[in-house]
Symmetry: C2
Subunit: 129 residues, 2 copies
DNA sequence: ATGAACCTTCCAGTAAGATGGAAGGTCAAG
DNA sequence: CTTGACCTTCCATCTTACTGGAAGGTTCAT
């Protein structure tokens, strides 16, 4: 199948697939005599894996690592477990950071809703922040 | 005060201050005869405001908007309230997205911890993702 | 007079994941 | 024969908030 069809099947674009190739996520495919990329069917599942990896919050670089392990015939299981554990820790950090920020912003917003603009003095930028 | 001193006082760098000037966050200051930037003391509070705005999760562009309103002599209160409300909505969206993602990743990670590698088949990239 | 510590401008690059466009080749249908 | 839908490469751009470095001017202490 050619790049446009593969893109349609996997819900992405030809542009993105060429980018994925340059990023090492998919191997350079065979070329037809006219120079067109010609993909085999198993690229579909590989790209599905990429999409699932992204849904799991992994970066393309991490997804590429996993794929490369597999390409070398090695089982990526242990590495995947590590990546997922790290991602989980990072998510917990991000979430608690955002919750803290949310509290800060909520307080600022609450105070900004009291329409007591007499307290708004020109010698400061904004009393709410 | 010169740029290095202002940077030290406000906890940033001369490089960043020049960048802030180019981004319209601080006005171009007077220059000494030798061409050095010469800042007045009220730049300190302006930069403190920038830092507080960032702590509230506002972008430099949003902070610049607020400062420009104030620079025009207009009260930014109403605009600030809108910005904070939008930021709060966005934070809620981000947080719930991350919580959802955390659930997904936690499940994947849990299943990846069962060391049943007999299920790891070479014809798929990784059964965990 | 010389070295350190400032300052200046300008240009380039970083992360991440694409996206847009130019200029051109290929192929099938009408 | 031409139109339209594909495909190719390469280069530039987007976002955000800086950061690095080159090449050079200024000031102060020793």
């Amino acid at each position: 199948m050619r790049i446009g069809e593969l893109a349609a099947v996997t819900g992405t674009t030809a542009k993105t697939l060429r980018f994925y190739e340059s990023a090492g996520l998919i191997p350079p495919p065979h070329r037809s005599p006219n120079g067109y990329r010609e993909y085999s069917d198993d690229m579909v599942s590989r790209l599905d894996f990429v999409r699932r990896g992204q849904s799991a919050g992994l970066s393309l670089a991490q997804i590429a690592e996993i794929l490369h392990l597999r390409d070398e015939g090695r089982s990526p299981c242990a590495h995947v477990e590590t990546l997922l554990a790290e991602r989980l820790e990072e998510l917990d950090r991000q979430i608690s950071d955002l919750l803290e920020l949310r509290e800060t912003v909520a307080k600022l917003h609450e105070s900004s809703r009291s329409p007591d603009s007499s307290l708004c003095r020109p010698d400061q930028v904004c009393r709410y922040i």
